[in-house]
Symmetry: C2
Subunit: 466 residues, 2 copies
């Protein structure tokens, strides 16, 4: 017990000491003015926020917008027009070639038992998968992991579907952690299966919900390995298949998918900018990704991140908080299946020798804010964490090291800090990459609070630098 | 700037000092064992939690259960049976007489302009309201507050509906604060209107959403003041009425409601108990309310609190953490329109000279946990706040003074601490007291995390006392 008491004292002492270096860096210390300005940002968002109505348009009038699709092109136009209406200093496009994968006709799948009676399965082709070229029927071997597959005798796998059935771990409080750990099956399962002579991969959907919705998502092949089709099963479908396999290991699955990859298409990142009043050469980027999967409406993934990023700039304008450093909203193209937009943005920034102070991304849904995940040197992390008291009153005071985001990932080494907007993660994977990722799942206040949190961070970064 | 730095140092120092008294109270200091035990509680809830399936039954098979209704009686039986299945040491009922108000036929309301063309309004009688006795048609006077009404000349009010149209304040981050501030119109509007000679009250629904759902809720009359009917308008309906009034101050509203109050009915609180292994006379109560409004299914209000309270006891049993003090789950009857169950519970506790250590209530919905609001002496608050590090990993580490709950309110002075489970409040008032408070609005993980948070607090209270 005494040890615990000492630990608590040590912790308090550490807090005391960690506050000390701030005395030498007065510019990073929040003031009462900052507190009042941030209150104005949140007030504007809560009373007059435009994220929600912008999202209603994007999801309802344009809808799903996979890279290369006509809807993705419409979304680019919409993003440009919407930012032009904000009266920014500059709105422009960055050209980027993107993959063009199409799902084709709705997929069909069924379980065939010895007696030939079909149990139909809701499936979704994984993004990037080849089609089946008509009906593909084969036996099934179930595994929990890539390692288990690698250890199986080739005869057990050859000519079959490999069925990857490891569920996401429900014990993590942060659902993203479980998603990260279970994702290898989806990303690399088909290639691993083909290497062992399998004809296809069936992958349990990456979700903690138990329902009949299949979740798509990106997968990739390996150079020199046969490309075999890969489909996601709903969690209910996966459980059913697993159970039937126990009773009849010789059952077959019949799969029909007409998806294919077409030639790359020209597309764009959309960029809007407010020039910094004092240090225009220092850039703070805030973004989400404009593309989405082709199921649903791409509401939480990542329409919310796009409208929040634009809203962050609008909030600065509406509150008259002209930033001292340049602030950019970026709607990245092609996060879902290539990250070409993120790569292009970093490439152009490097080529122009741009000085990126920080890049913020919102790509974890538009749920109630919690805070920010920071990728930066420890001294830079400390500066941002020192702003915690300014965020705490809004429930967004969880500032800690963590993964920032895919689109801004390529800026690593170019920007002093990469920052991921962190919001409540419990509902996200229930709808992620499915037909259920629709506008009605988004709550207006949760969404607007997120945009305000991002604007508040941009405000502080633009005032104090890093 | 220096002042801010000093403030931060002072804060750190205060933290240091606040940790000091713990040295003299080793029993309140959490240990590594506590951390591990709490992890087990959350693991059990996340992997095998039963709150969600219990709630599915309560909302789907029984549904809305206003005090005095046959469904409320069914809910009592269900609560008793469900707790008996948990293998508790004792399950029993506490008899209590409750009000019996019935809505009657669906309400009808419309706006009548000069040209007699009706615009229909979605309305819901407020709970406790008298009916209209057929169609009631009258002019309308709009006010923003009880004070504004009191200042109006009587001639402006006499023979009319008073239309209370003050919206909930969207600027509060905590929606409950806005609800509290706007609630006087609903609770006291009809009596205040009748005092000035009005024939009825029309009240803007207490919600931050802009939609066509009317929100019911309790209201009361005053001794010696005429009882006039009171109805809630949806926020869209209220906005429309307000706009039409501006164009035509002589418009009328026609209202038809057949609600009435019947004689009191015998009902029950449902109580389940695990006897404390060391201090059986010290009682920790954890509860929600079993009754709900008659619209919707009473899912978030307060089916979630009921299933979480029972789950808290189940989690202790399932993890083998036998409490040292007695723990009770209480499903209170009649929170919504009388609080007779809460009053009866406190009355019986006093009559039996029971020693209540703490009472915990969950009645803010089943959303993602944030922490607990504590009503207790400052020294007691400090003891509970010292457990913060044990809750932080689960996102429920916001422990602070605040309103605990209505059902447990009457225990004030009898229990050392009243504690309210605090969860994300953004979505709650969108559905509160409406037809939309249904099971599909509840997320399984959010709900189960809440039950685990409550169980963890019960575990600590039962181990360390206060």
């Amino acid at each position: 017990m005494m040890r615990t008491v000492l630990l608590r004292r040590t912790l308090a002492l550490a807090l005391l000491l960690s506050a000390a270096p701030l005395a030498t860096r007065a510019q990073t210390v929040p003031s009462a003015t900052d507190s009042a300005n941030i209150r104005r940002i949140y007030n504007e968002a809560l009373a007059q926020g435009q994220s929600y109505e912008n999202l209603r348009y994007l999801t309802g009038q344009i809808g799903a917008r996979l890279s290369g699709s006509p809807q993705a092109a419409q979304a680019v136009q919409w993003g440009q027009t919407t930012m032009e209406k904000l009266g920014l200093d500059r709105v422009y496009l960055q050209e980027v070639m993107v993959p063009h994968w199409v799902r084709g006709k709705p997929e069909k799948a069924s379980i065939r038992g010895d007696k030939g009676k079909g149990v139909s399965l809701n499936v979704a082709a994984l993004g990037g998968s080849v089609g089946t070229g008509g009906k593909l029927r084969a036996g099934v071997v179930e595994v929990q992991s890539l390692a288990e597959l690698a250890a199986l005798p080739e005869a057990r796998v050859k000519g079959k579907f490999v069925f990857f059935n490891r569920p996401m771990n429900p014990l993590y409080v942060e659902t993203g952690q479980a998603y990260g750990e279970a994702g290898d099956q989806r990303r690399s399962g088909a290639a691993a299966a083909a290497k062992r002579g399998a004809v296809g991969a069936l992958v349990r959907s990456l979700t903690l919900a138990h329902d009949d919705l299949p979740h798509t998502g990106t997968m990739s092949y390996q150079e020199g390995v046969t490309q075999v089709p890969a489909a996601a099963l709903s969690t209910m479908g996966a459980d059913e298949l697993s159970q039937l396999l126990k009773a009849d290991s010789k059952l077959t699955v019949e799969l029909e998918m007409s998806c294919q990859t077409l030639p790359d298409v020209k597309s764009y990142n959309v960029v809007g900018e407010i020039k910094g009043s004092k240090y225009p050469d220092q850039i703070i980027t805030v973004g989400g990704h404009l593309d989405s999967w082709d199921l649903g409406q791409g509401a939480h993934d990542d329409g919310t991140g796009c409208v929040q990023s634009m809203e962050a700039l609008r909030l600065l304008k509406a509150t008259g908080l002209r930033p001292e450093r340049t602030v950019r909203a970026v709607l990245f193209m092609n996060e879902e299946n290539g990250n070409r937009g993120g790569l292009k943005y970093a490439e152009l920034a490097k080529a122009s020798n741009e000085n990126h102070l920080a890049a913020i991304e919102s790509d974890g849904g538009g749920f109630t804010p919690r805070g920010f995940n920071i990728e930066a040197a420890p001294s830079v992390v400390r500066k941002i964490v020192a702003w915690q008291p300014l965020f705490a009153p809004y429930g967004s005071g969880l500032l800690a090291p963590g993964h920032a985001g895919t689109d801004i990932g390529p800026l690593k080494g170019q920007a002093k800090a990469l920052v991921g907007y962190d919001c409540d993660s419990q509902r996200y994977f229930d709808i992620h990459h499915t037909a259920a990722d629709t506008f009605d799942k988004v709550n207006r206040r949760e969404l607007e609070l997120g945009g305000a949190s991002m604007a508040a961070l941009v405000y502080l970064l633009s005032k104090y630098g890093l």
